[in-house]
Amino acid sequence: MTGRTIKVPILTRVEGEGSLQIKFRGERVEDVKLTIFEPPRMFEAFLRGRHAFEAPDITARICGICPIAYQMSAVHAIEKALGVKIDPAVRQLRRLFYCGEWIESHALHIYMLHAPDFLGYADAIEMARDHGEKVAQALRLKKIGNTLMTVLGGREIHPISVCVGGFYKVPTRSDLRELVDDLKWARDASIETVRLVAGFPFPEFEQDYEFVALSHKDEYPLNKGRLISNKGLDIEASEYEDHFFEQHVKHSNALQSQLRKRGSYMVGPMARFNLNYDKLPESARQAAAEVGLKVPVLNPFRSIIVRAVELVFACEEALRIIGEYEPPEAPRAKVRMRAGTGQAITEAPRGILYHRYQIDGEGKILAAKIVPPTSQNQKRIEDDLWQFVPQLSALPQEEITLRCEQAVRNYDPCISCATHFLRLEMTRE
């Protein structure tokens, strides 16, 4: 029996510190482990004893890419605990804020992190030498998302405007109108992006996924709705922990989330698209139809197209909200402290983000629970690799490594939320 080991010391273009081990016995895959060795960050522990009003700013520090997701899940959960009703205009502004994060995050992942896999480049810098125009387009798209975040949040990284009950400060109509021309350009560029990425070569690989996403009767999901799946789940955020559990596995510092009695599931663009296609704006549906992207999308490598369709959505939704915007009478609702527990789920760019807070009568946080999207997809990534790797076994080791990295990147894992680099180790016995 011959044995060989492949070690890739650094896998770039995945956020977080972790490694991937794949063990072969002959041609058979014997073990797949996505190991996250980034030390636990203890956010849930150090939220305890802090004031509930601090939660949006503290949790925003979990991630530099999706701080708004953390702020949104935090404020919604605390507002639920305190029984705060927010102004509809504030809710629309929060959707707009979220659109900015989706635009910058999706543009970054599609072009700078995932496209090089499909086009055969080591990274975006190498890709830029041959496809400078496309990379420049990506930078402009990302900047537009960042600008939207800055206008609403005061700054693009770890915004400072969000508070329980609303915003500390809301934009004027003219602040937002200034963004319209750029957003129209971004929408058109996003439609071009759908066409571009739909032309990439995709491996033949489909799975019978359980897709989990928010669903709202008349909105593509961002920050409101019931949690549903294609296999019968239909719950409120408050029921989340009755249906999902987190498991500590020996090889990972990040907890793996699973559905009780059903195992792994997928959150993120493919889940949202497959469960909410009819809520997409016409331009996004047309862009999908034009490239033959139909529900259900079951090939995770095609998630890059779905992400581009969501980019169209985010631009279109931002334009709609800006077009209809009337500033709220007050930037934030009055908040009265009371003891309680609140849960919320919102849609971060890479999938659902669950927060729960238990608060005492003075507003002190007694307990906090945060389940980031990458923890939710972590088991699913391993399951994909279990199924995907056998069809690669005849390929050279270097090619196997690249395909595995690409498969991990299908999920745009943000492992600082759950890792910093990913080391791939493959052994054959």
């Binding site: 890419i65 970054l108 992190l113 910093h420």
Partner: protein
């Protein structure tokens, strides 16, 4: 388009990584509109397009003693690029390489690297790094004054 743009990079709450930010603060006290950069390196490419001359200050790790000052032009900075661990974020050297690939380098890019070795969250920079930041602030101030006074290029 401004004549000279000074950008200091770093995290003010991570020990020696604050060096670039300290230089910015010192320059502002002396009337230079220096800019603080603590986010994604990709955003630098846009910032650079606003100026003819760009001067960047950042903490570097080259193995030299803490507080050592390295000055280099942008063309050499690729040598300092991290080992490719950046994922959702691009470091300064990656931004330079990308700007070069896109033909978006500023007319002149000079980088001052201040050697650091201690990056614990919540800590202050070491005294040698503080002293180096002070020296770099003086060097940059002199350079800004010289460039502002010089005849426009071309």
């Amino acid at each position: 388009m401004v004549r000279v743009l000074v950008i200091g990079c770093g995290n003010p709450d991570r020990g020696d990584d604050a060096a670039g930010i300290l230089v910015v603060r010192r320059l502002r006290e002396r009337g230079v509109a220096a800019r603080q950069h603590s986010s994604d390196g990709l955003a630098l490419i846009d910032a650079w397009s606003e100026a003819e001359y760009v001067i960047m200050i950042d903490t570097v790790i080259t193995g030299a003693p803490a507080g050592t000052i390295n000055g280099c032009m942008g063309a050499d900075a690729v040598l300092l690029r991290s080992a490719g661990t950046s994922s959702h974020s691009f470091d300064v050297a990656s931004a330079i390489e990308l700007a070069r690939a896109l033909d978006r380098m500023p007319g002149s890019l000079k980088i001052y690297g201040i050697e650091g070795c201690a990056f614990e969250p919540g800590t202050q920079p070491q005294p040698v790094v503080l002293a180096a930041a002070e020296r770099v602030a003086s060097l940059v101030l002199a350079e800004v004054q010289r460039l502002e006074a010089a005849e426009p290029r071309g």
